[in-house]
Structures are given as structure tokens and as C-alpha cells.
Amino acid sequence: MGGEACSRVRLLAAALALVALADVAWASVAAFKAPFPVKVDLGAPTAYRNLYIHVPMAWSSYLLFGLALIFGISYLARRDPKYDRYTFYSVVMAEVYGVATLFSGMAWAKESWGAAWNWDPRETGVLFLILGYLGYFAVRSSISDPERRRLISSSYAVAAFTLVLISFISAYITESLHPRAEQTRQFVEAGNVGMYFGPKIMLATITAVLLLAVTVRLGDCEARYLKLAGGLVLLIGVASTLALVSPYLTDSPVRVLDAKLTPDGSIESLTISGGRVVDFNPPIPSPIKPARASDGQPSIIGHIVTIENGTVKVVTHWAVALNLLFYSLIVGLLMLAAHKLARVRA
């Protein structure tokens, strides 16, 4: 690859390094600070901070599968091998994002649905999507003639996009525990949720596209800072994850089962795991704002908290930490492996 082409790739890699770092850093900020629903049907409301990690990850995987469709059609129309390579890398990355999305959804579902896996239509749809696209690699590796391999695997990548559509509409065609897009949008428009969600979805989208663009163009070019940035992404992700789970390791978090509030919303007492009642005299301000849901129920109910020396601290649910780790791992490792991936004979 020529010097000019390598310069362009290095520029892209630099952009990827910056955006990916910003993306994972923003995911960490959201995991610690972002708003969550005042009241949820089940589990800890902070588990809904997964919205800022799981949804952008799912969207990125759909986007990458969509790019595989476009490149597949481009190959079928023009027979230019570069489109076949683009299709291959799109499917590889979409699968990585897809698997991470499935596991992050399961971790969230364990808390907010009551079971990690219950063959919910969306869960089934995404599982089938991932398995279906694995067929792309099986088809590819089973044909030795390069032209035939490109032709058939591109046709497969185009056809398999129906699985993306099926998984997306699964929550619409039958009853599902998974929310529909308009319900998520309703929450995103509440309070300052959009302030966290908007930049996150934008950064995740650009990260995914740049990851693909850099990997398909890297060839023999060297972009050493890509590894450094990948390492930093991992470091931010692991450090933030450890900070999020530290209350589980050092304190004894408990679940709030019930609460008594004063008329002004201060906490008089909490009923916690084990049925123990903790009184606060004088009452303390609720760490959750607002202190009550619209039906008057104390918004602290369901939260995981630590109680020490008369103060209540809200602990973010562990599923958020796990999903932050998943996301930083896939982005960091894909960046670290970009040079090796680029040299794979697609």
C-alpha cells in the first residue's frame, strides 16, 4: 500500500482512537451518572442505565449488518473483490457486536425481566440472527474457488439481512417483554436522558463505522497508536467496571423492599433485604430525585443501597458494570486486533 494511502488510513485510525476513547469514557459517565426511570416494574431502577450501553451496541450491530447488505449487493452488482472484503469484515464485526448485545441484554433481563433467558421473541430473534450469520462463515469456508466463494457468500450476506428485520420486528409481531422503539424514545425524551443518550448513540455509531473503515483499509500500514488507544479503551472500561462493582466487594449492599417517607419526601425508614427495618431519626433526604413516583410510591424502592452511619448510598446495579466491561472489551480488543484482522485472507 502506498505512502499516501497509509497516511489516509493513519488519519482514520487517529479519528477512531479519539472517538473510541470518548465513546467508552462517555459510557462510563452514563453508567455512574445517567438518569433511570423513577419507578420500574421489577428490579433495581439503576439497571436501566444499561440503556446507554446496550441500545447503542445493538444499534451498531444492526448498522454493521446493514453495511454488510450494502457491500454484498455492491459485490453482486460490480464483482469488485474489495466489496467482498468489506462484506466479510462487516459481518465479522456485526457478529462480535451482536454476541455482546445478546449477553448484555441477558444480564439486564436477569434483573429487569426476572430471568436472563426465557425465549422471549426478541431474545430468540437475536439468537437466530447471530446463528444465521454464522452460516455466512460456514458457506465461505466450504467453497475453495475464490470467485464462487465471493459470489455465494455475498448472496448469503444479502439474504441473511432478513434476519435483522425479523429480530427488529419481533417485539411488534408478537407479545414480548422487550420494549418497542417508541417506548424507549418516550424515556429518552424525558428529563435530561437525551443529554446522555444522544451523544452515546452518536459516538457508538461513529466508533463502529470507523472500526470497520480502518480494519478494511489498514492492509500492511502501521498505525501503532491504534494499539495504544485500544489499550486505553480497555483500561477505562476495566477501571470503571471495578469502580462500579467496588460497593459489592467492600460493602454489603442491600435491596430496598419498602420505604416510609415524610410528606416532604425525606426517608423515615427503609425495609431492606432480610425484612430488617432501618429507621432514620431525624429523617434523611432521599438520594433519589424525585423522591416519589407519580403514583406516590417512594422512588427508592427496588434500589440496591449501602447504609452506613445514617446515610444511604445508591449502588448501580452490577449488570451495568458487566455491560460496560463487555462494550469496552469488544471495542478495545477489535482495536488491538485491527492489524491482525486486516491481514486475514478474507
Binding site: 436501566y48 429487569s112 426476572g114 439474504a159 439481512f161 425479523i166 409481531i173 433519589i288
Partner: protein
């Protein structure tokens, strides 16, 4: 040129045919994931694990006796559900589910604490449950109105969706 055009058409036809097949299998797999009803469960000939959606039938209030297998439980009925205690003091949640045609007794082996947390002041009028159904397993519920024999479903977990959570507005930690 003609050969290339012909192979393009073949590839397009193959892609469309494969898309239709994948869409069919995908749709079938998603559709088969939809919730079962109480009547669907009762049609099972062998033990099945399923996700069932049903209405909750009020169980009343008072203290009843529940006989399930060779065990006798004291059942404290609390409106939408009851708490069954066996002689060893183990507690279970019990509630009645129906699809309008048939009624079953749902038996939930959960800790008292988790029940309290999950059920709050009571079950909602409709529930989605992850269950195991063994055909032939029945319970006798002895109430003040007489004895009722009901098919039993063992509850693995009470499932909740995210739908209403998103309309509750946003909260933050101060």
C-alpha cells in the same frame, strides 16, 4: 458479458430464495416464542417448560388448607395471592391463573423476602410466568366454600416487561 449477466441473475434469484427461507424460519422461531395460555398448557401430554401469560384470579382472604402431592400446607390468602407454609415452615407463593376457560394453581417456590419485593402490595391483574407444567399434578384447595381441585403449574419466575417503566419519567441520584 451475457454469462456475467446470467450469473448475476442467478445470484439474485439465489439470494431472494434464501432470504425467503431464512425469513420463514426466523418468523417461525420468533412466533413460536410467543406466550402460551393456560389452555395451551393443559393440552401438554408431558412435562413442559413454557412462558405463559394469564389473568390472576383473586384467591380471597383468610386461612385455607392446600394439599399438593403428599404435603399439606397452611395457606394465608392475601387477595391476589397467598402464602403457603409447610409443616417445616418453608414458605411458597400461591396464586390462581386463568385464561377465561381454565384455571390453574400457580405454585412459586420463592423466599418470603423476594415475594414481598416482587409482588409488592399484590400481583397485577395479568402476569407473565416462566413455568414448568407436569400433566397430572393437581392440588386440592380447601376453602370455606368447599374443596376445589385444580391443575398445578410450578412457577420458575414471575416475568415483567420494561414497557411501563419508560413512561414513568426520569430520576437521578443526588
Amino acid at each position: 458479458m451475457i454469462a456475467m449477466k446470467s450469473s448475476r441473475v442467478k445470484a439474485a434469484i439465489a439470494a431472494v430464495a434464501l432470504a425467503v427461507i431464512l425469513a420463514g424460519i426466523g418468523y417461525a422461531s420468533v412466533a413460536s416464542s410467543s406466550y402460551k395460555s393456560v389452555s395451551d398448557l393443559l393440552e401438554a401430554k408431558r412435562t413442559v417448560k413454557a412462558t405463559v401469560e394469564a389473568d390472576v384470579v383473586p384467591i380471597g382472604r383468610g386461612v385455607y388448607t392446600l394439599i399438593l402431592g403428599d404435603k399439606v400446607y397452611t395457606l394465608e390468602a392475601r387477595g391476589s395471592y397467598g402464602v403457603a407454609r409447610d409443616p417445616a415452615g418453608e414458605v411458597y407463593a400461591v396464586f390462581l391463573i386463568s385464561d377465561g376457560k381454565h384455571t390453574m394453581l400457580a405454585f412459586y417456590d420463592a423466599t418470603d423476602e423476594y415475594m414481598a419485593y416482587q409482588m409488592g402490595s399484590g400481583l397485577s391483574s395479568s402476569v407473565v410466568l416462566s413455568v414448568t407444567y407436569e400433566p397430572g399434578l393437581t392440588a386440592i384447595l380447601k376453602t370455606t366454600d368447599g374443596d376445589v381441585q385444580l391443575p398445578v403449574v410450578l412457577v420458575n419466575s414471575i416475568l415483567k416487561g420494561c414497557h411501563t417503566s419508560y413512561s414513568q419519567g426520569a430520576a437521578t441520584v443526588s
